[in-house]
Symmetry: C2
Subunit: 294 residues, 2 copies
């Protein structure tokens, strides 16, 4: 993995983190809900999804700035999903990235509403972007709704909840992760491609690339929960085992999970090689996802 | 109030209720979440918001069918808000329209997700409508997000929660109802006007009309909670008093609340008279809101 992807990630993460609060601060709404939304939005994270939008635009030699609104919208959707997932009725988590979860600070009612608010505003940000044609915005909105609604992320969370305490097959596990994680990661890539005027053929290929990278992302997550360094990943390792959660290592052994991880990495990169653009950045991104330590 | 508005309402309600399930049934998602969404969507209600979209199109002599997708999207947003409002962490209601609330049947986690899903799909329905220009769809989506996000309905619910157990002023109460109720009712009217190619000037007037009708709607709700017939309204009367909720009658006396109701009705109808279209249907709609028994 090259140093350049690391600096790309750090630089764009800084840009995104400087833009995110403005989408909330400008709103004419009760201060308390804005504070709750900002709390989770400013709580850090890798910001992989918004940076992916910019990486795709960069790969197509387009101005990255045209992707800022959608990138922020995606991070807001991701944040809403974390707030709702952490609720007592869902995963009942008290800590997220080492900080108290939203409902621990603001109470459950406000946490539900902060999530609802982030979800709603994200669609508005895309609809209100001025320098993108209406036809593209409509496509971006429809694809986002598909990626994060019941056919995507919400559906994955439902399957995850339904699977709790049950013996899952590999295909059950893949359904959960494809929907809960990979679809929104894939959307980041597709959104970048739509904004870059990529050919329909490229978009289809990038969707396949995104699927493999998304699953690889999740397998790496499962591996880090066993082999990771608590201080580096910022959360206790072994929580999946404690919670008896089905994971790739638990279903395939650690060696089998790593083999699967590398298979998805290889497939993802193979697809990139069939694109006509320079894919060095996306290849590095894929390597980063596979080898990341947190 | 004429008989024609009653038959208009009943006929269009039937159309909307026949269309709503199809937006969920076609989704490729876990059956359980579709069931939870359909349960609340099919639980009845006056369907005033979607019918208003059609009433505006009818007033502009346009095909009402062009408003079906947006009308369904609005009813889905309204339904999501009821599901989340009923949650134990919010109003903690066990019954809605005489039936167990969503979380009572499906559990809290699925109720949160059914709400999230309905909210998300509603944006998709508008984005995917085929016979409307992209520019209009973008406007419909941006206005919907404003009406139901933290600047609108969600913000109103926040203010409502914050006001619990406090002595509210009339202006506090108006803020809550303008945001929690009137903004989405107003959106129904604006959406109809956008689809009907109404002039910008008309849309501004209709927004004012919608504000007065929305507040009138809420005052009538407060009055019915005291003077209503339990069997007709389908819920116990006096719940606002029991819950020590600030209402128009509690702040203004019953006579004062009725005076305020008629003031808003008069202002709403006055604005209609300045429009160039035939406003008989909207006038009747306004009268219906003011004199309804449930």
């Amino acid at each position: 993995m090259s140093a350049s992807i690391q600096s790309f990630l750090i630089e764009r993460k800084t840009v995104i983190e400087s833009l995110l609060p403005s989408h909330i601060e400008r709103l004419n709404a009760p201060e308390k809900i804005k504070k709750a939304m900002l709390y989770s939005l400013n709580a850090g994270g890798k910001r992989l999804r918004p940076v992916l939008v910019l990486a795709v635009l960069n790969s197509y030699n387009k101005e990255e700035s045209i992707g800022y609104p959608v990138a922020c919208a995606i991070e807001m959707i991701h944040t809403y999903s974390l707030i709702h997932d952490d609720l007592p009725c869902m995963d009942n988590d008290d800590l997220r990235r080492g900080k108290p979860t939203n409902h621990k600070v603001f109470g459950e009612a406000l946490a539900v509403l902060a999530g609802d608010g982030l979800l709603t505003e994200s669609f508005r940000i895309i609809a209100e972007q001025e320098d993108v044609e209406a036809q593209k915005k409509v496509l971006l909105i429809a694809e986002l709704a598909k990626a994060c609604g019941v056919e995507g992320m919400v559906g994955g969370q439902v399957a995850d909840l339904e699977g709790e305490g049950k013996a899952l097959t590999l295909s059950d596990l893949e359904f959960i992760h494809e929907h809960k994680t990979a679809k929104l990661l894939a959307y980041s890539i597709i959104a970048g491609a739509i904004l870059a005027n990529a050919a329909e053929e490229d978009i289809l290929k990038l969707k396949k690339f995104a699927f493999h990278m998304g699953i690889a992302f999740q397998i790496r997550d499962d591996i880090l929960d066993i082999e990771g360094n608590e201080e580096v990943i910022g959360k206790p390792v072994g929580s999946d085992t404690t919670n008896q959660k089905a994971t790739y290592p638990s279903l395939l052994t650690m060696d089998g999970a790593k083999k699967k991880l590398f298979e998805h990495q290889a497939k993802a990169k193979e697809i990139l090689h069939t694109l006509s653009i320079s894919t060095k950045l996306l290849e590095d991104f894929c390597d980063l996802v596979v080898s990341r330590e947190y």
